[in-house]
């Protein structure tokens, strides 16, 4: 009886062992049967890389996950692409024996991301001219490459064009919060208008910075057709306003505004580029004043007279978050004295911007008094808002002119009275009284 039960247990153990071995041997085949759209050659890769917990240690002691979520991958846009189409350095015969040393996950992503252009040549070329590429080139660890926005193993069709999954918000979350309440976002939710996502204004791959002179305004006008003519119907010098004032200044009515004085040079009026470690202004803890502005332009003109350095003023919204809080047009600012009046909020904040080594603007805080200083007459000759940035000393002159205009006749009349009284006191003929 005991021998019989012992034999039965051994037989059961053998059966379980055979079943387990069979299961693991047949796993790739089962996987292939379940996920028919994944090429057969990739099932071998997924056999290992679909398992949880697979990671690789980097030289910088980080651990990079090597897991490809099988279900998500099967539904991704790359499901029918062979793993080795992208991972061209992997050879099936030697993969398991090869132990490559990788500096960091970031370095691996940048190096392996170059393969994207094999299929996505147009997008890759566009990306190379983007501010994102400039960040990467400048060595910024957060500069986005293809895989930051488009996770290669889980990207599904239309995923990066859906507001819920916009890749932009993973880095620009505060800006996205501002955008989420804007007319662009809410109109889309209400199905009142076509979607206006980040890429609608900033482009999907050749991403341009918001403060680019040729950036957002052109983006606005490319959709809002005939908007200049509509403004000309009620706004004096509408075209000049379009040049000097960014759209969100009026269309993001609760936003804080500032005057940005862009230091430009050359005949193309390109923004001055600041070299790394050589600040344009060296006034730590102090704002740039009218004398510093004057000195900057004078020194530049003397040292490089052909550079034609100048300050080009532009009114814009202070923070990226507020730029994106665009309101319905009924709420846009249309009162002229919002800006064209003394002490207008728009002129309480002033900055000078130059292009940093990475292409992003570097701003220096400027004393707001430069806008009303006679000293900066030549320095910021290109920016002026009637009433808002008027030169203070001219107000004093006007007051003196009014006093002179009233005082001269009064003084002359008084002089006549005094002369006649004097002659009368001396017993002289006082002179004829002038009549009509």
């Amino acid at each position: 009886m005991n021998r019989a039960s012992s034999s039965l247990a051994r037989r059961g153990f053998r059966l379980a062992l055979i079943a387990a071995v069979t299961f693991f041997c047949l796993l790739p085949i089962c996987w292939t049967a379940a996920q028919a759209q994944v090429p057969a050659a990739d099932t071998r890769c997924l056999g290992c890389h679909a398992r949880r917990g697979l990671f690789k240690s980097m030289e910088n002691s980080d651990h990079m996950s090597m897991v490809v979520p099988a279900d998500a991958y099967a539904k991704s846009v790359h499901a029918t692409t062979l793993c080795t189409d992208c991972h061209t350095d992997v050879k099936a015969a030697t993969h398991l024996e090869t132990r490559k040393s990788i500096k960091s996950a970031r370095a691996y992503a940048i190096a392996s991301g170059a393969v994207c252009q094999n299929c996505h040549d147009k997008e890759s070329r566009e990306w190379r001219s983007s501010i994102h590429a400039a960040l990467v080139t400048a060595g910024n660890d957060k500069g986005p490459i293809c895989t930051n926005c488009h996770p290669p193993h889980t990207e599904t069709p239309g995923m990066s064009r859906s507001i819920e999954n916009l890749p932009c918000k993973s880095c620009h979350d505060t800006i996205f919060a501002g955008y989420a309440g804007s007319v662009h976002a809410t109109a889309r939710k209400d199905d009142k208008a076509a979607p206006v996502l980040c890429s609608g204004c900033h482009n999907a791959h050749d991403v341009s910075i918001a403060s680019s002179p040729t950036g957002p305004k052109h983006a606005c006008l490319s959709c809002h057709d005939g908007v200049l003519q509509k403004h000309q119907a009620w706004l004096p010098n509408a075209s000049l306003h379009f040049e000097m004032v960014s759209c969100p200044v009026c269309h993001s009515p609760t936003a804080a505004r500032r005057v940005d004085l862009q230091l430009v040079e050359g005949t193309e009026r390109t923004r001055h580029s600041e070299k790394a470690g050589v600040p344009t202004f060296n006034t730590p803890g102090k704002s740039v004043d009218a004398i510093a502005l004057y000195n900057l332009l004078q020194t530049t003109a003397q040292q490089t007279p052909n550079l034609h350095a100048a300050l080009r003023g532009r009114l814009e919204v202070s923070t990226p978050e507020q730029i994106h809080q665009l309101a319905p047009k009924e709420q846009a600012i249309s009162r002229c004295d919002t800006c064209h009046s003394a002490g207008a909020a728009a002129f309480q904040s002033v900055s000078i911007s130059v292009a940093g080594p990475d292409g992003l603007p570097i701003r220096y805080v400027v004393d707001k008094e430069v806008l009303s200083s006679a000293m900066s007459l030549g320095a910021i000759s290109g920016f002026y808002a009637i009433g808002g940035t008027r030169i203070g000393v001219l107000d004093t002159l006007l007051l003196l002119a009014v006093l002179a205009g009233v005082g001269v006749p009064a003084a002359h009349l008084l002089l006549g009275v005094l002369v006649r009284r004097h002659r009368k006191r001396r017993g002289m003929t006082p002179g004829p009284q002038r009549i009509d």
């Binding site: 004096p236 002229c336 064209h340 000759s381 290109g382 001219l394 006749p409 006549g416 002179g431």
Partner: protein, 209 residues
């Protein structure tokens, strides 16, 4: 007293249109410059009025220029370029305004059709009509459409420079329109020069004939 036809009809029309226009330009200019502090017609309306009246004044100036350019009366605006004569003439005239006129002395300047301004008036009106008014019109047109005239604005030093010149001349004209009506009362009689600018005839004392 006798009468001289001193102000022909085109000059009188120009003068009163110019006077009304300049007052309107100063008021609308004040509204624009001090929007927020002064709220009478609003900034936008002030800008529109300032532009339209400005162009009307330019047309009016052309009327004045056309009349004088085709008339011998232009001599009263041509500088004599005799500094000694101008200096002593101005001193005599100033002495008259500050003392002589109060004691019944005759006006040292004898008015005539081609010499209607005394040395001080001649200097002032030459400066106003040949320099300040044209410069004010020119800078005003540049400011009316900065983009259209961007090359000229930049050549002159930028919008802020052009605007400052415009405002400086505006300040001068503010004082001018306050003083000018009073100076108009300093003729042979208080209202003589006003009547002359309406009828064209100015009454001149016989002894100065």
């Amino acid at each position: 007293m006798h009468r001289i036809y001193i102000h022909p009809l085109p000059v009188r029309i120009w003068h009163w249109l110019n006077a009304a226009g300049f007052v309107a330009m100063i008021l609308t200019g004040m509204q624009m410059r001090y929007a927020g502090t002064i709220e009478v017609i609003g900034f936008r309306t002030a800008v529109r009025m300032h532009n339209w009246i400005g162009f009307a004044l330019i047309a009016n100036y052309c009327l004045w220029l056309g009349f004088y350019a085709t008339s011998s009366r232009i001599r009263c605006y041509l500088p004599e370029l005799n500094l000694r004569k101008f200096f002593f003439g101005s001193v005599r005239q100033m002495k008259y305004y500050c003392y002589g006129m109060f004691v019944g002395e005759p006006n040292p300047h004898q008015i005539s059709i081609t010499n209607k301004f005394n040395p001080m008036q001649a200097t002032l009106y030459q400066l106003v009509m040949v320099v300040l008014v044209p410069v004010q019109f020119y800078t005003g047109v540049l400011l009316w459409d900065v983009q259209r005239f961007a090359a000229q604005v930049n050549f002159l030093g930028g919008i802020r420079v052009v605007d400052t010149v415009h405002v400086l001349i505006f300040i001068f004209f503010v004082a001018y329109v306050l003083v000018h009506p009073y100076l108009g009362t300093l003729g042979a009689t208080r209202t003589g020069q006003y009547k002359a600018m309406i009828s064209g005839y100015e009454e001149v004392p016989d002894e100065r004939k």
